[in-house]
């Protein structure tokens, strides 16, 4: 590589990295926690989901209940399990019966608790798990700016990754084993940044590409629709098999009893280990009624086992079928693998714990990069004014990033003390708390203190989370263990481990600091 290329790439890596650093840190931090989104939600609500990945519901009984409140005739009704929670989403399309008044025909969306059959809307069932998950793509910002911002951060993250690996290419093997913790501070950051960066590279590359696609797919879809489909976006979604087929409403009631459960049963008996996660009913109670039962094979059997069967209710025939046991088409493989790779949900707890750790390594690589940036510019030949500015930038960055740890831990306490917390309280608590802690650290003007205090406070709060949970709900760790409350137990232990590791690192930092001051 010529000197010119090297220096340009190096500069591109530096600039793109420093610009996105804080946003990327927030994405990595919340994303790491989001691997356990469903566990956090269930822990918060005190729920235990016994058969994840699947809807456990008596559909016919539910529909009968629903018909007492609304006229279901001629509606499209969808039951969908979005996450491994007791809550499933129920989407009621507007009735196509033109005789109904507008009010009666209106559609609705709500969550149904499959256990106690209670219903909630989005805002009241808002949870800390959902909050952290949505902060991962800045959904709290006005739509769609948060999505686009996180998408472009992901894109420039990919840019920084590629320029970074090319810059480091010549030394990739020789420097892989190099770690010089006893030398000056800058080499410590550099060694950690490059070694961990290389280890995390494949993982981060996948997340950068898939993340960019999730948030910026409009940039790919819009030109394709305009140029190839002459503006007909429905046709594109049909070609990519994202849309349900359309069935005409015939406005004649069906004279037959409807049994959704039997369709679900049929599908499950046809394919072994098939988890039904969506039941979509077209034109309920009408001659044109169809039922689509879709889901996935268990990930243990097949990673891309998406399939469905669509039944014609009037004559009981099968309208369409996608057999998940057959060879997966390229289209389905790409569509499925994007989500599996990004969510890391196909390999049980082990994979998600590794992904969590790699996510935290990402956080570390970002911060060490910022610190390299500072130490490399902290030289005598650089004007004092500029050095002061650089120092302030890093102080703000560190304060904002590191205070996420204590405020996240504190939010876990909040959702147990005030339960259910609700959307607005959670927003205020998290964002105002985050702001206050950040301001405190910024005013203290001491990066060492920011680092140690955030670590210490977050770890102590983290360790107290299982205790608060025990006091508030009675689900102490041994109780959860005995009764098999897997998700509750997991989050409690998760925080104990994080807290202990945090304290160990803290004591290590304190010790080295003491040694250093004695040696001086």
């Amino acid at each position: 590589m010529s000197k010119r290329t090297y220096n340009i790439l190096f500069h591109l890596h530096t600039v793109s990295g420093i610009v996105i650093s804080v946003a990327l840190y927030v994405i990595f931090f919340t994303g790491s926690f989001s691997f356990f989104r469903d566990e956090i939600v269930n822990w918060e609500r005190g729920h235990t989901v016994k058969a994840p990945e699947e809807i456990n519901l008596d559909f016919d009984e539910t529909l009968e209940q629903m018909s007492k409140e609304r006229n279901l005739f001629g509606r499209d009704i969808e039951f969908k399990q979005y996450y491994n929670e007791q809550h499933i989403g129920v989407n009621l399309g507007a009735s196509k019966d033109t005789l109904l008044t507008k009010e009666k025909a209106a559609g609705a969306f709500y969550y149904l608790n499959t256990d106690d059959k209670s219903t909630t809307d989005y805002a009241t069932s808002y949870s800390l798990g959902e909050f952290l998950y949505r902060l991962h793509f800045f959904a709290q910002m006005p739509h769609p700016f948060g999505y686009y911002l996180s998408g472009f951060v992901a894109l420039f993250f990919l840019f920084a990754l590629i320029t970074g690996i090319v810059v480091h290419w010549d030394k990739i093997i020789s420097n892989f084993y190099v770690f010089r913790p006893m030398t000056k501070l800058k080499t410590v950051w550099t060694d950690a940044h490059t070694a961990l960066g290389v280890i995390g590279f494949p993982f981060q590359l996948v997340y950068a590409v898939t993340g960019t696609f999730f948030m910026l797919k409009i940039l790919l879809v819009a030109p394709t629709v305009l140029a190839l489909y002459d503006g007909d976006d429905k046709k594109l979604y049909e070609d990519l098999e994202y849309a349900h087929p359309h069935f005409e409403f015939q406005n004649t009631p069906i004279n037959k009893s409807i049994n959704i459960n039997s369709y679900v049963k049929q599908v499950k008996s046809k394919w072994n280990n098939f988890n039904v996660n969506e039941v979509h009913i077209f034109n309920y109670g009408d001659k044109g009624m169809h039922v689509s039962v879709s889901g996935n094979l268990d990930y243990k059997n097949k990673i891309n086992g998406y399939g469905y069967t669509i039944y014609n209710v009037t004559d009981g025939s099968i309208y369409g079928i996608k057999d998940p046991t057959q060879k997966t088409s390229y289209l389905d493989a790409v569509k499925g693998i994007f989500y599996r790779l990004h969510f890391g949900d196909y390999g049980g707890y082990g994979l998600r714990i590794i992904s969590f750790l790699l996510g935290l390594i990402g956080c570390f690589v970002i911060l060490s990069g910022v610190l390299i940036w500072l130490t490399a510019r902290n030289k005598k030949n650089i004007p004092v004014k500029k050095r002061k500015f650089n120092e302030a930038v890093v102080r703000y960055y560190l304060a904002i990033c590191l205070s996420m740890y204590p405020i996240t831990a504190l939010s876990f306490i909040l959702v147990k003390v005030v339960n259910p917390t609700g959307m607005s309280l959670l927003y205020q608590f998290y964002f105002i708390g985050w702001l206050l802690i950040s301001i405190f650290f910024i005013l203290k003007k001491d990066n060492y203190l920011t680092n140690t205090y955030s670590l210490l406070s977050g770890s102590i709060i983290g360790l107290s989370i299982p205790i608060v949970n025990g006091i508030c709900t009675g689900n102490w760790i041994w109780v959860s263990f005995e009764k098999g409350y897997d998700q509750i137990l997991f989050i409690d232990i998760f925080w104990i481990v994080i807290g202990i590791v945090g304290l160990l690192i803290f004591s290590k930092i304190i010790k080295t600091q003491k040694n250093n001051s004695i040696n001086k």
Binding site: I8, I162, T210, A227, L228, L236, V334, F338
Partner: protein, 99 residues
């Protein structure tokens, strides 16, 4: 260790031309490249492939634009490439219409 500034562009217009060529020009070329292929081959497979390949190609074209000696030259190259790709796409679309 900051990059040696003798290799970088300090003044406004060279910088501006490179940044715009990288982000906007790179995007246009990357998208048209995939559309051109999609109009001739199995369009569904190409479109779903573009969900990752277009992003990676975009980033690579960004890097190439920054490595160029002259920002306006690379803009010219990207525009000419885009025109060629657009012609290929319109021919393909005329011969294999989707709608």
């Amino acid at each position: 260790m900051p990059a040696n500034s003798k290799y970088l562009n300090p003044s406004f217009w060279p910088r501006f031309s490179k940044i715009t060529a990288a982000i906007i020009g790179g995007f246009i070329v990357s998208i048209l490249f995939h559309l051109a292929i999609a109009s001739w081959l199995d369009h569904v497979d190409v479109i779903i492939t573009s969900t990752y390949s277009a992003i990676i190609l975009w980033v690579c074209l960004m890097i190439i634009a920054f490595l160029a000696k002259n920002g306006w030259k690379i803009w010219g190259i990207y525009i000419i490439t885009s025109i060629i790709l657009a012609i290929i796409m319109f021919y393909g679309k005329a011969l294999n219409p989707l709608i």
